[in-house]
């Protein structure tokens, strides 16, 4: 071998060695994956959410790089690179779990806040309803008191009137019946002084009651119907006018003559005719 040939072999050997040392060897796929996965994890939420795990992945990757540099053909070098890759994936998974847990906590807190708000609204509505119910109950109690007062007053009025006249109740209201003999002279509509005294008491009781009053005049069947109708009308009007003069509101009192109609007794007897000659005051229920 001549010297030039020897030199060429030496140079080729040195270049081959230099190429090998310069890292032209392809790294194993596991190491390439580990690098990619680590840098992806580093750019993701793991950097903030789980830096400890990410650091472990970095340490594992350093170890894998050293193993690749020191012992590229050692089978354990691939194992170490795969471990580094799994550490990077684990950092991402842990970060994903933490992120999901935070979302759960946020959603739960919002759900609780919504429930609290709804509860507050419902309580407000309940309070309003209770207040309205309270007011209604108070109004009802007021009405009950007023009704009781009214009934007591009516009873008192009735008791007072019952001392001077016949009193009964029917569907029209309270009926006060005054015999004709007590009120008028025969054939007249002029009130007797004694009648006025009784009507004074009745007016005193009724004038503030604000209840409509209809004064009906009745006669017996003796005489013509026209005369009886006229007489009963005038007698009823006399009573009405007297009550008005004693303070009963004019618009609440009306008078109507019914003549011999609606007799309460037999006109064939003296007693019956006396009962039929009468004045009835119908005190109607208070109009609301």
């Amino acid at each position: 071998m001549n010297p030039s040939c020897y030199t060429a072999i030496v140079v080729a050997t040195v270049l081959a060695g230099a190429a090998a040392c310069s890292g032209q060897r392809m790294p194993p796929k596991a190491l390439v994956d580990a690098r990619a996965d680590y840098f992806r994890a580093k750019d993701g939420p793991a950097m903030n959410l789980d830096p400890t795990q990410l650091h472990e992945a970095e340490v594992a990757l350093d170890r894998a790089e050293r193993a690749w540099q020191d012992s590229p053909s050692d089978p354990t070098t691939v194992d170490v690179a795969m471990i580094a890759d799994r550490k990077a994936l684990l950092a991402e998974a842990e970060a994903a779990a933490l992120q999901a847990q935070r979302e759960v906590a946020r959603a739960r807190a919002q759900i609780e806040a919504n429930k609290t708000s709804e509860l507050k609204t419902a309580k407000g509505a309940l309070n309003k309803t209770q207040q309205a119910l309270g007011q209604t109950q108070m109004q009802l109690q007021d009405q009950e008191r007023q009704t009781a007062t009214l009934e007591a007053n009516l009873k008192e009025a009735r008791d007072t009137i019952a001392k001077i006249a016949s009193v009964k109740d029917d569907e029209r209201g309270m009926i006060i019946t005054l015999p004709g003999e007590v009120l008028y002279k025969t054939g007249s509509w002029e009130l007797k002084p004694g009648a006025m005294a009784k009507l004074d008491q009745i007016a005193q009781v009724l004038k503030d009651k604000e209840q409509p009053i209809v004064v009906y005049g009745f006669t017996d069947s003796v005489g013509t119907r026209d005369n009886n109708m006229s007489l009963s009308q005038r007698r009823a009007a006399a009573v009405r006018d007297y009550l008005v003069s004693r303070g009963v509101p004019q618009d609440l009192v009306t008078a109507q003559g019914k003549g011999p109609d609606d007799p309460v007794a037999d006109n064939g007897s003296v007693e019956g005719r006396a009962q039929n000659r009468r004045v009835e005051l119908v005190v109607q229920p208070k109009q609301r």
Partner: protein, 119 residues
């Protein structure tokens, strides 16, 4: 040195070299730890999560290889046990992440539709 003496030295050095090569103790503890983590992943529902299931499978294969190499190549057995452990831990984390994400979806649904049951 005479040839006979040289032969004696070489023959004597072989057991010593073998002893040095197998100085790494069998990685029983690492293997057991990896197996325990595999069990944890199983309990956490990893078989129901595709990626977690895959890494469980890889862990099982690594453990099997490590077991076969135990006492023959303890260094590789240890390396495979460590890799199996990483696979098992990853499977566990993936299962937990899937569970948390499922819970987050349910919570978000409950938030958006408060009167609808997600069970």
């Amino acid at each position: 040195m005479r040839p006979r003496t040289l032969w004696t030295v070489v023959v004597g050095a072989v057991p010593w070299a073998i002893a040095c090569g197998s100085s790494v103790p069998p990685p029983h503890d690492q293997w057991a730890e990896a197996e325990a983590n595999l069990g944890r992943a199983q309990m956490a529902g990893a078989p129901d999560v595709p990626m977690a299931k895959l890494h469980m499978r890889l862990a099982q294969e690594d453990l099997q290889k490590a077991k076969e190499l135990m006492d023959q190549d303890n260094k590789r057995a240890a390396s495979l046990s460590a890799l199996a452990n990483s696979e098992a831990q990853l499977a566990l984390s993936l299962a937990k992440a899937a569970s948390s994400q499922d819970e987050a979806r349910k919570a978000e649904f409950e938030l958006q539709y408060p009167n609808t049951s997600t069970k």
